[in-house]
């Protein structure tokens, strides 16, 4: 039985200066389905959703949006929300210092007869919507103190309170752990019964195969295919996304032969004074020369905190226990000390604390070791240019020149700059924190290849990742953390996704 199309976008073409972001994109979503839009970074998914939600208003694109059988044109989010289309972005639009009920109704407050805010009704309604999304928390809680998963549910409650008909979620599970993700997906299935249609943009194809009723694949700003429920298959999606078949996402490297220990933590603890709790408890990890060791665990398991503690403790945790480098106890109390000991840390948040967006590629790459391009504190710009050129070439960073500012690069290229920045400091121990988060399949493969190159040259790598396939595909040994505690250690031969998940959810 053919259902009605709640949404149809026809021949959407959108150009930005010098680039065609979308060219003749056509797709439709049927009423009451969960529709996935997938594609590599830069395929145009977000641009398409910005057009749909009115951020790119009429006149800036060509083509038609047909919503519930009528051609519509939205000038800004307010219009699209009034029509019943709500978009929830990756970066949540919540106010951390306001309470849950204030957040749910901010912007569309319930008013009394006199035009004042009707707080009583607001609270009642908020409770109702929280029940609907299955969130059992006090509505007086400040949103900032909630976990990311719970915040997402608050956003959805907010969307429901705006009489949403079509809910768009942009990478909703990117920052969620497996439990919260599963919860969210179940919620979407439940909402289907309430008559809410949803569009999901996601990199996680497993989710798509599990819950999608249909999928649109975009590539290079064009629609490649629409897959119906019975046609959905991970291999086919990947093939359509990248336009080629990827035999093996993880490049092979020779089997690891044990060598010396380069980094070791012994009974190491870190206490976060701001959060009033231990973020790392009794950590005992070992990293050998030429080895890739994975740190696996859910969000909040203390993986990044462990990395920070090793990399000079910039958050000033109270620490106890010892960190040993090449068998010697070291005091790593500033990032500079850690760098001096040959440690480098590629941050999970490349825009937030990894790179300086307002500066150029050359300036960013050399920042980790300015002494290499200077004498008596005076910079040698010639050396800076030639060094930066070298890294741009070796890491295959795609840019017109090293004078390009970071903010103008794609995610994958930014990540490669971040890696280049840390290779420039010539480390012997490299900590990679979520090195492939939010970047496309092609760039991922390149980063895995870089990892193998570095290992071949004798570097040792700690790889923190939320993606189990990545951990399983790239590591020689794996530690699992749960709530700051190290719960398991696996060799590559022993490890399976099931075993890791079991230990991560203790």
């Amino acid at each position: 039985m053919a259902k009605n199309n709640i949404l149809e976008m026809r021949s959407i073409t959108k150009t930005f200066p010098g680039v065609v972001a979308l060219s003749d994109v056509t797709f439709h979503v049927e009423e009451g389905e969960i529709h996935f839009i997938v594609g590599e970074n830069g395929a145009g998914k977000s641009t398409l959703m910005k057009i749909l939600s009115g951020i790119h208003g009429p006149g800036t694109y060509s083509g038609d949006i047909v919503f519930e059988g009528e051609v519509v044109s939205f000038n800004g989010i307010k219009d699209s929300v009034n029509a019943g289309i709500v978009i929830i972005n990756q970066e949540l639009a919540l106010f951390p210092d306001l309470t849950v009920y204030e957040n749910v109704f901010v912007g569309h407050e319930i008013k009394t007869r006199y035009g004042l805010v009707d707080w009583k009704k607001t609270r009642e309604e908020t409770k109702r919507y929280l029940d609907l999304v299955g969130l059992k928390i006090d509505i007086d809680t400040h949103v900032g103190s909630l976990g990311v998963g719970q915040q997402q549910l608050v956003e959805i409650a907010k969307a429901l309170s705006q009489n949403v008909k079509l809910l768009i979620l942009d990478e909703p599970t990117a920052a969620l752990n497996e439990d919260d993700s599963a919860n969210l997906l179940q919620l979407l299935i439940n909402l289907k019964k309430e008559g809410v249609t949803s569009i999901m943009i996601s990199h996680k194809l497993k989710e798509a195969t599990e819950v999608a009723d249909s999928i649109t694949v975009l590539r290079d700003g064009k629609t490649i295919s629409r897959l119906e429920k019975n046609e959905i298959d991970e291999a086919i999606i990947i093939k359509h996304m990248v336009g080629r078949e990827i035999e093996d996402i993880f490049p092979k490297r020779p089997k690891y032969e044990p060598q010396d220990v380069v980094l070791e933590t012994i009974n190491f603890n870190a206490y976060d004074k701001n959060k009033n709790r231990y973020v790392v408890t009794n950590s005992n990890i070992r990293l050998h020369r030429g080895e890739v060791v994975g740190i696996s665990g859910l969000i909040g398991a203390g993986r990044t905190e462990l990395a920070h503690s090793i990399f000079g403790n910039p958050k000033n945790y109270k620490t106890s226990g010892g960190i040993f480098i090449n068998g010697k106890l070291v005091n790593l109390n500033t990032p500079q000390r850690a760098i001096d000991h040959g440690i480098a840390y590629v941050s999970e948040d490349r825009k937030g604390n990894g790179l300086i967006l307002s500066e150029t590629i050359g300036e960013n790459i050399t920042l980790s070791a300015l002494q290499k391009i200077s004498r008596y504190g005076i910079l040698n710009e010639m050396k800076q240019s030639s060094e930066a050129e070298k890294y741009v070439r070796n890491l295959n960073i795609r840019t017109p020149s090293i004078f390009q500012r970071i903010r103008n690069l794609s995610g994958g290229n930014q990540q490669k700059v971040q890696i280049g920045k840390w290779l420039f400091s010539e480390p012997s121990i490299l900590i990679l924190d979520e090195p492939t988060r939010g970047i496309d399949v092609g760039s991922k493969f390149e980063i895995y290849t870089i990892i193998n190159d570095l290992i071949a040259r004798g570097m040792s790598i700690l790889l923190i990742s939320s993606e189990l396939p990545e951990i399983l595909g790239m590591c020689d040994r794996i530690y699992v953390l749960a709530e700051g505690v190290q719960t398991a250690e696996f060799t590559m031969a022993e490890a399976t996704a099931e075993k890791i998940m079991e230990k991560a959810t203790i």
Binding site: S11, T15, E363, L379, S385
Partner: protein, 471 residues
């Protein structure tokens, strides 16, 4: 396709370059306009040797403050206390010398110690205790105002000390060749030689590394313009009294800070902290120390500015220091420094200071009542920042390429434009009751509009290089 006439091409390239780099050139163009307007209003008096020398002398203390303020704002901070601190330090030195008979150098050394300690305290409160710099320096503003009143005993203290006379109204050397001050001519000549050599060195370096760079004709044009400005400056100063100590100090401060911010490790670290404090921290930079350094540097420059001011007027006065910080901040913003941090040039802050003082000086000279001046100044500040925001995303344009592209796509363009106009007409004339028909026509129209915009964009972004093998 026909090759373009080289003269036409040259001018198109100049316009393209200016439009592409309008953010960098905007302020200079504005300054040129201000100079021109006041020259006309004052029958040339404004740019004459005497007034021009005066203008540069008056600009000194604001320029020095603006240089320090650039670093403060680049690191995402603000310093409201520099006005009264500068006036207090200046008054301290004058009063010590006049009333207590201490030697000038001794007073200056004590003043340096005072200002360095104050800089440390400000830096520690801001970077370690996390008090917003606005609050810390607002408190400082009150405190230093009080200290100024205490030190001057709320009265004017004139000084006849030679030191202040030399700094305030003295000139470097009065040796003359004909009508010209010899030293000034030498300095001017040296400046020209340095600029030309540096440009050639940079060009060679870029060529060696095969970096993309401006073509030779553009580079020569740039050099010619800069040399012309230097020659104008030199002439104007040389026919009057030459280079004053005030101008010397200003130029030295600007030159040292320019070198320091662009060529040293510490300079790079300051900009890194401004661009992203967390990333800087994780790159091994001690953010706390950088902030302290910036406030200590601001303090030392405040002392220099204060000393320049009291020397210029050879008095300590309880009414000095009012609004200095505002002029310095305004000069910094007019110079294009970003409030978001990490972006801003010392040289541009200097030019910003000249813009402000030109307006002040020019309006006085042209006989405007003095109460209009702040209004004009406020307007200029707003204009400058609005201009900066509007030009933030300026796209590069190559008019030579555009011109070739216009030839190449001419027929296609006419056709698509016609189609677009027809689609518009068709929709206008269509039967308004026939919904399906209207939908179809709307669809046609948006499609035609899309094609039209795409082609326009392709022409707009065309580069000369794309046509090299066609010509």
């Amino acid at each position: 396709m026909k090759k373009m006439n080289p003269v036409v091409r040259y001018f198109l390239k100049i316009i393209s370059n200016t439009r592409t780099n309008i953010r960098d050139y905007g302020m200079y163009i504005a300054l040129a306009v201000i100079f021109l307007v006041f020259s006309i209003l004052t029958n040339g008096l404004f740019l004459g040797p005497i007034n021009f020398t005066n203008l540069l002398n008056q600009t000194g203390y604001v320029a020095v403050l603006a240089v320090g303020m650039t670093l403060v704002i680049v690191t995402r901070q603000i310093d409201l206390s520099v006005g009264f601190l500068g006036a207090f330090l200046g008054a301290y030195i004058v009063v010590e010398v006049e009333n207590l008979g201490t030697s000038v150098w001794y007073a200056i050394i004590v003043a340096i110690l005072i200002t360095v300690v104050i800089g440390f305290v400000k830096g520690i409160l801001i970077a370690r205790v996390n008090v917003p710099s606005f609050v810390v320096t607002l408190a400082g503003m009150f405190i230093f105002k009080g200290m100024l009143l205490l030190k001057t005993d709320s009265t004017t203290t004139p000084s006849s000390n030679n030191f202040f006379r030399t700094i305030g109204v003295g000139y470097l050397s009065d040796m003359k060749v004909g009508n010209f001050n010899l030293l000034t001519l030498i300095v001017g000549a040296l400046a020209v030689i340095t600029i030309v050599t540096l440009s050639i060195m940079k060009y060679r370096h870029n060529k060696k590394l095969e970096l993309k760079q401006t073509e030779l004709s553009m580079l020569i044009t740039q050099i010619v313009v800069v040399v012309f400005i230097i020659l104008f400056l030199t002439y104007n100063l040389a026919v009057y009294k030459g280079i004053s100590y005030l101008v010397l100090i200003t130029i030295m401060v600007v030159a040292i800070y320019h070198f320091f911010t662009t060529k040293t490790v510490l300079g790079r670290r300051i900009y890194a902290v401004g661009g992203n404090p967390e990333a800087a921290e994780l790159s091994g930079i001690n953010v706390y120390r950088i902030i302290i350094f910036v406030f200590v540097s601001m303090g030392v420059l405040t002392l220099i500015a204060g000393l320049m001011y009291v020397s210029m007027l050879r008095t300590a006065n309880p009414n000095y220091g009012i609004s200095w910080e505002l002029y310095a901040i305004a000069a910094t913003y007019i110079g294009g420094t970003s409030a978001q941090g990490g972006v801003g040039k010392v040289i541009n802050a200097f030019v910003g200071a000249i813009v402000i003082m030109s307006i002040q000086n020019g309006m006085k000279l042209a006989g405007f009542p003095s109460n209009i001046e702040p209004i004009v100044l406020g307007g200029v500040l707003l204009l400058a920042v609005v201009f900066d925001i509007y030009t933030r995303n300026v796209r590069s344009i190559d008019l030579v390429g555009v011109s070739y592209a216009k030839q190449k796509y001419h027929d296609e363009f006419v056709e698509i434009k016609d189609k677009y106009i027809q689609a518009k007409q068709a929709l206008k004339l269509a039967d308004q009751t026939d919904n399906i028909k209207i939908l179809e026509l709307e669809f046609e129209l948006t499609k035609a509009q899309g094609e039209y915009n795409q082609l326009k964009d392709r022409i707009r972004t065309a580069k000369e290089e794309d046509f090299l093998n066609v010509i």
